[in-house]
Point group: C2
Chain length 355, copies 2
């Protein structure tokens, strides 16, 4: 086992650009650790974050982008550390008022501070600006320290197929309703990314992957966060073709998600809740190995939690996924920076092995 | 001088329906007093309020209807008594957040509670419901005790022509910008109700005036509240043709507006700031008297503040506007109920004189 520290290996080249595919809370926290590591050890490295927008939902006429906001607030110092989502010092006056009007739905935690973000976004979208330009405008306030890009400017939405009330029939509900209202406790038959076929990657997404020195997959949800990003036509291909090593971090530790309800999502797509199964699902990038997921694998390297998941090393490495075991609990920024350091080291190791 | 009390004259018929044309704060307070009077003395009387929507403005993507909301909140018990507008216990988190994003304008007092109302309204409008239906839906919560109808379902907006920066040129700004940002202190050349020509009265407006037993004009702004309502094609004609007596209450007491900045509005249209001049501007309904305003006069009766404005009685009555002087300061609900009582008495007196 490799014990990562915050100093890069001087024998390896220093990357100048890192691309990260990310979901919401877990992705945001990982990137915060990554930035902490880079600021100390590799200053000047540019980070581009390609964020999942499949969770986006229009409620009360507001276009809400939970993952973009989680990343923006977390990196900009505005996140509620306690909840992990939404704004610090948030109030819920509007939510209560909407309930008093009987305006559905009542299960969504619409914060007052958050609403201002949604208002600015919705107004700019209505004026014709693409989501990527809107996100850039919002980031002018938050200064997240990364270039934050939605995976697509096209509106796509993850819906979840569940049993309907009438026996033998099914219905689709928005991911947020399944996630928040039902707490992912209703059996999901399938996730459908509505609008995916016709969606294009947002400007800069493909270039960020192509031109990156390293691509990282944080311990985000492999199904409804990273998996959703991979459904935008062109993104998986870019990941398979980039010269940068692609290194992921397992969101599953000891057979359970570190946070969130990734197990329910994995179950729906028939993937076991284990660090090894998630890596197999992502698949190895090497062409000689059958694709672990539709369209070909994307991983060069994989980090699993040490002790609990070290057995994956021997199983995955022969498949072409160089696997290491390190502590993967994002207990604080320093611990997370150590994880980022380990991911960067593994990427450099993979690069060095190629030459 | 007639001293009103809260008991109706038993020799006069009890009206069953009252129509009120109203602006925001002043109109709302008058109607609250009217309802108080009716509940005590003439229970069962139905009140229809036709509200000005020329103040409406779309800000931050929200459709804001200040006068409808002032009436709804005042009659529904949700108004801030201290400010006179907006919600009791209001907070301004969103306003601060929008300012932090640099989203203009910053001069509008967008409250958090209020925003929920705007969100419900905007969402319903976007879904295709007319403003009158939206207002009815919002009133299902507030139970204002009146039928509240916007003057029109069509979007009309009062703009104010002011001097532009370049000498000799003019520009038009939204009424709210003139009223709130400039506090009506910038000289207004003209008020233009954009969209007025093509606007139709909302469903129920003309019938409410036609079928009313009494029509009341509260001490609302005669230019940008009542005057705006009169610009919707068909409303002035309905007022001139209804069999109900039309009785107004002067918003000017002793040469100054009781509240608000009606003097600046009157100055712009060349009308003196006096109780008598406002009545002459409204004009007498009797056909034999030349119209005081474009399209013909609308008043049968007029209440002025006693002592300060009693001289108007002798000047206006010969014109066909039966004028009485009573206390016209809405210091509390009881005082306002007395004003409403006096207006109802005057209406009955006018009805009785006809037969």
């Amino acid at each position: 086992m490799q014990t990562p520290d915050l100093s890069p290996d001087p024998s390896n080249p220093t990357p100048r650009s890192v691309a990260v595919l990310a979901g919401g809370i877990g992705g945001a926290r990982f990137i915060r650790g990554l930035l902490h590591y880079l600021a100390v050890s590799e200053p000047g490295t540019e980070v581009t974050v390609i964020a999942n927008t499949g969770d986006d939902i229009r409620l009360f006429g507001l276009q809400i982008c939970p993952d973009l906001d989680s990343i923006m607030y977390t990196l900009g110092g505005g996140i509620s550390e306690e909840r992990g989502w939404g704004r610090e010092g948030e109030t819920f006056t509007i939510k209560d008022e909407l309930a008093a009007y009987g305006a559905p739905p009542t299960w969504f935690g619409l914060g007052d501070r958050d609403t201002a973000t949604h208002l600015v976004r919705t107004q700019m979208l209505s004026a014709g600006y693409p989501l990527s330009a809107v996100t850039e405008a919002l980031c002018a306030r938050w200064q997240p320290g990364v270039r934050l890009i939605p995976m697509s400017d096209d509106r796509v939405e993850t819906h979840v197929v569940i049993d309907a009330d009438e026996p033998g029939t099914k219905q689709a509900i928005h991911f947020q309703e399944w996630w928040i209202r039902h707490r992912a406790a209703v059996h999901a038959h399938e996730f459908v990314l509505i609008g995916a076929e016709d969606a294009k990657p947002a400007p800069g997404v493909i270039d960020a992957i192509r031109n990156a020195d390293i691509v990282l997959l944080p311990p985000s949800n492999p199904v409804v966060s990273i998996g959703t990003i991979l459904q935008i036509p062109g993104i998986r291909e870019a990941l398979r073709q980039t010269s940068a090593p692609v290194v992921g971090l397992s969101p599953i530790v000891g057979g359970a998600p570190v946070r969130g309800m990734a197990d329910a999502c994995l179950e729906a797509i028939g993937v076991a809740t284990s660090a090894e199964a998630v890596a197999r699902h992502y698949g190895a990038r090497v062409a000689s190995v059958p694709a672990g997921a539709d369209g070909g694998g994307i991983l060069d390297g994989w980090l699993v939690h040490d002790d609990t998941d070290s057995a994956a090393i021997a199983n995955l490495t022969p498949l072409g996924i160089t696997t290491r075991a390190v502590p993967l609990l994002m207990t604080d920024v320093d611990a997370t920076a150590q994880m980022a350091s380990a991911a960067m080291d593994l990427a450099r190791e993979i690069m060095a092995a190629r030459t």
